[in-house]
Amino acid sequence: MDILEINNLSKRFGSIYALDDVSFSIKKGDIFGFLGPNGAGKSTTIRIIMGFLKATKGNVSVFGLDSHVQSVEIKKQIGYVPADPILYQDWSVNEHIRFLTKIRGKQIKTRAEELKKILELNGKKKLKQLSTGNQQKLAIILALSIEPSLLILDEPTRGLDPLLRSTFHTLLREYRDRGGTVLLSSHDLSEVEDLCNKIVIIHNGKLIQDTTVSHLRAKHGHKVKAHFQDHAPSFSDIKGVEDLITTTHTAVFNTKGNLKPVLEILSHSKVGDLEISSASLEDIFEEIYK
């Protein structure tokens, strides 16, 4: 079942297209990575989903409802963490939770208290007394405490330290295991790689990849680093070998497709050290934007 469906979405600001004919869908239970460099159109897409902006063309449907027309109904089931969560600086953490309780219902209070403990956030402090990371924590608490059907996260871990990042990832996995769906916009490729089962990559407002992490890795092959006790053999004749750098005893290259011919050469050589790794999203990203 599609939780979110985006069809031919375009958004123009004056003569500039921030989004150009973007389409993708998210299924229930997905942790969906939304990747792209700054200004690619990620936040614009999210703002249209949230009903802050109106699409120039195309439509967005969430839970089968039109995101512009039935925005309030949709938001009852959406938890949202913006890229720069701006909350009320004169309110305390607890005041934010109280306000949300009044808007969303009393049932969120228990979960908010739990999350406050897990993320170690002092409820009495006013926002202006909190660091950016702690304000980010509150935004995460507010979004997760409502137990939404869809969680939209726009670079949620920016400003969080590695330990908290790990705690947050655990919370996301638990949320997914309880049946939740996540749209995660991020710059952090390792985070996306770690969490997401599906990804789309957007560049200059256009969708350039809509795939799974494993498929993308398979498509973009492996990175091979080998150290030889004798002279390094030649890999240049093998189909699919790219970016080959050889010295007397080492060979470093990327290879797409079948690894068999590479392994065959390696098996006939005196290999001192060998590292074969799947291409990381970072490598893929670099290749796409090259």
Binding site: F52, L53, V72, K75, P82, I86, L100, K102, I103
Partner: protein, 267 residues
């Protein structure tokens, strides 16, 4: 409308209402304190006012000077200073209510909740009206108990009618401010646009009084429909004034709601 949103708006801007109410009260206390000395010199003041140019008298709204406390206050305070305080208070609040939240991006938090934009607009507007009622009670209606304490003769009906008229004027300015707040992305723009329109209205009001050929211009000005001196003297508020304030408020509120519903919010 949502009680939570109304309460939130009142709480968030409580200092604004408190400070302006104290200023309004301060003026009243000052005038009440000096009234006995003014009362003894009313004949001299009448002569001074009679010698002033007509334009200045109209600009300061100091007609109908009476030797009563309310007559004195309506000519000295309620005719202009009080209205200016109402305008400043209400326009500042309007700017904060929507545009400032878009400017500081806190609107993103509200709009990501299941809250209808109309609901948000009307709740904030209602909070403005509640704040205005409190301000009018503290800065105008309070004359009644103060007069009783000081043993001055007071026309209660006049006090209440002037408060009612001030409330209608304030709601009109609030509606205008909210309309601009729904259209703008900064509070400064709201102040500039609302202040600009009110200034033009005030200029039209003065010009219509001074130049006979421009007489009809006064109907375009909100200031024409509130005359504290006349309210105190006649003990009534004209029906046409009430209708104009209501129609003006209703129209600008509808435009504001429509604009806020349709506007794109970059938060």
């Amino acid at each position: 409308m949502s009680f939570t949103l109304i309460l939130q708006a009142l709480k968030a801007k409580r200092m604004l209402w408190i400070v302006y109410s104290i200023i309004g009260l301060g003026f009243i206390l000052l005038y009440v304190a000096i009234f006995p000395s003014i009362q003894g010199q009313s004949a001299d003041y009448d002569k001074i006012f009679a010698s002033l140019p007509k334009g200045l008298v109209l600009a300061l709204n100091i007609s109908n000077v009476e030797p009563t406390l309310m007559g004195y206050l309506s000519s000295k305070h309620f005719g202009l200073i009080w209205l200016v305080i109402i305008i400043l208070l209400v326009v500042t609040y309007s700017g904060f209510a929507i545009a400032k939240e878009i400017e500081t991006k806190t609107m993103g938090f509200l709009l990501s909740q299941p809250i209808k934009r109309v609901n948000l607009y009307l709740s904030r507007f209602t909070a403005g009206i509640i704040g205005l009622v409190v301000f009018i009670c503290i800065s105008e209606i309070i004359v009644w108990p103060l007069a009783k304490i000081c043993n001055y003769t007071i026309d209660v009906k006049g006090v209440l009618l002037l408060g009612f008229s001030g409330l209608l004027f304030g709601i009109s300015v609030l509606s205008l401010g909210f309309m601009f707040s729904a259209l703008s992305s900064t509070a400064a723009k709201v102040s500039a646009l609302s202040g600009g329109i009110l200034l033009v209205m005030y200029a039209a009001f003065i010009a219509s009084s001074l130049v006979p050929s421009l007489d009809k211009l006064k109907y375009l000005s909100l200031f024409h429909y509130i005359s504290p001196g006349a309210i105190i003297q006649n003990d009534s508020v004209t029906l046409s004034s009430i209708i104009v304030f209501i129609v003006f408020s209703f129209t600008t509120t509808l435009i504001g709601i429509f604009a806020f519903k349709k506007r794109q919010v970059l938060v």
